[in-house]
Amino acid sequence: MIQLEGIRKSFGKQQVLGGINLTVQKGEVVVILGPSGSGKTTLLRCINYLERPDQGVIQIGNQKLEGKHPGRSEIHRLRQRTAMVFQQYNLFKHKTALENVMEGLTIVRGVPRDTAAEIGIEMLEKVGLGDRLHYYPSQLSGGQQQRVGIARALALNPEVILFDEPTSALDPELVGEVLEVIRRIAEEGITMIIVTHEMGFARDVASRVVFMDGGAIIEQGTPDDIFQRPREERTRQFLRRITPEANYSI
């Protein structure tokens, strides 16, 4: 279980998060939607302390971190419970797909190389890259790179995987393969928090949709609640803007 309480974050004078409370149950797939600049990505990055919140409490399992200056080892332990999939994939460019997936296992978790390789191969097969184990990122397409990124996150068997706009940097024809992989692992019951602009996907995969604007959660609910019966005007506006085809009339 993940619990965020009163998360505040400002960059200079610009307040990005104004006291966010959010609870995510084990096995939930939470999709965060919102216009750009609404603080979605910052919130996600606060969960594993890639961004330090100015204020607030973050709890994952029984690991609890508070405010701006927790100890290095505390942050380290928190990060071991999470994994992240990045917009720009952020694969280690000098390592092959398999080595990318093995890195966290061997170096951070101290798993023996042989075992790590077995897990790595299994994860890469799971994302459909069993035949690309020994390719460097430069030899893979964007979609394949992102799937390696997902395998790298999966291999660590984290309590939650954070997806930061995983398909935003991809060519349109490659988006499908990545979403398909995420959809498949969502069905396995892994807890996920996803920031995305893919509405169809959000609707499909989310157990809960959270709508953010101006650094605050405006409303949340099941995909049907949010997409069919949004209560807040700002949510309606946002949905109208991003699904204009629904409003076309001849």
Binding site: H76, N90, K95, E103, E118
Partner: protein, 257 residues
């Protein structure tokens, strides 16, 4: 005053000069090694934004980049004993060679620190975040993610530095160090065949520079293999190594299903 040009002298001088190549290479090798250490120490405050030290290292770098190495040689050789004299440390019996090595080390340290800074900053920050996100420590991230890529990036710069350093060592003769250029002076004076000594000397410097250049190009290619489109021998080796592991896994999958 000078005698007529005679090509035989060139051939004759080459082995005589080569006898002093070891001194030249000693200056290059030890000053670059020391320079790497200095460069790293000087780069760190700027990479980690350490206040105070950051300013010092900037002054150091701009001084050694902004003054001629010949003047630096004189400053270190004549100035350092003065300063140490005030502290009652007597360095008058230390061989001039060590002052020369120290000067070249301080000089290349300045350039190397800039090289390190540029190379580290060229490794994309996203990979650092990815390393942090999987729980790697700062040291692990530097050692396993930043360093291997920064090395590849810095090789061409480093090659230029080493070759530049090699050529700069020719100035050491001004302090009377008997390296190759120093030897060429004495050969020229003794035989009055100056042109021939300089031709022999430039041939030697040229050949060593070309060899170094080749070596660095090879090293660059080796360290940056991962950026290419073709399969490398390393990939093929790894494929072979983990292949045995692939088969049992698919087998296991088969049995379960």
């Amino acid at each position: 005053m000078s005698r007529r040009f005679d090509i035989h002298y060139v051939l004759d001088f080459i082995p005589k000069l080569l006898a002093y190549l070891n001194i030249t290479l000693l200056i290059v090798g030890s000053s670059i090694a020391l320079g790497l250490l200095i460069g790293l120490l000087v780069a760190l405050p700027r990479l980690y934004n350490v206040p105070g030290l950051q300013r010092l290292s900037r002054i150091y770098v701009s001084f050694f980049r902004g003054t001629p190495i010949l003047i630096q040689l004189f400053l270190v050789y004549y100035g350092l004993p003065e300063i140490l004299g005030w502290l009652h440390i007597d360095v008058s019996r230390i061989a001039v060679l060590y002052f020369v090595i120290l000067t070249y080390a301080l000089n290349s340290g300045a350039f190397i620190s800039e090289m390190i800074r540029a190379a580290v900053e060229a490794v994309d920050k996203g990979q650092v975040e990815a390393a942090q996100s999987i729980g790697m420590s700062g040291y692990q991230t530097f050692r396993r993610i930043i360093l291997p890529q920064a090395l590849g990036i810095s090789v061409p710069l480093f090659g230029n530095l080493v070759i530049g350093n090699l050529k700069d060592t020719s100035l050491a003769f001004t302090l009377g160090v008997m390296e190759m250029t120093g030897r060429s002076q004495t050969l020229g004076t003794a035989t009055q065949h100056f042109i021939e000594t300089y031709i022999a000397l430039s041939l030697i410097y040229f050949v060593i520079s070309v060899l170094l250049e080749r070596a660095f190009v090879w090293l660059e290619r080796y360290l940056n293999q991962y950026a290419g489109k073709e399969q490398t021998s390393r990939q093929q080796r790894m494929a072979k190594r983990w292949q045995a592991r692939l088969i049992p896994i698919s087998d296991r999958g088969g049995k379960q299903g």
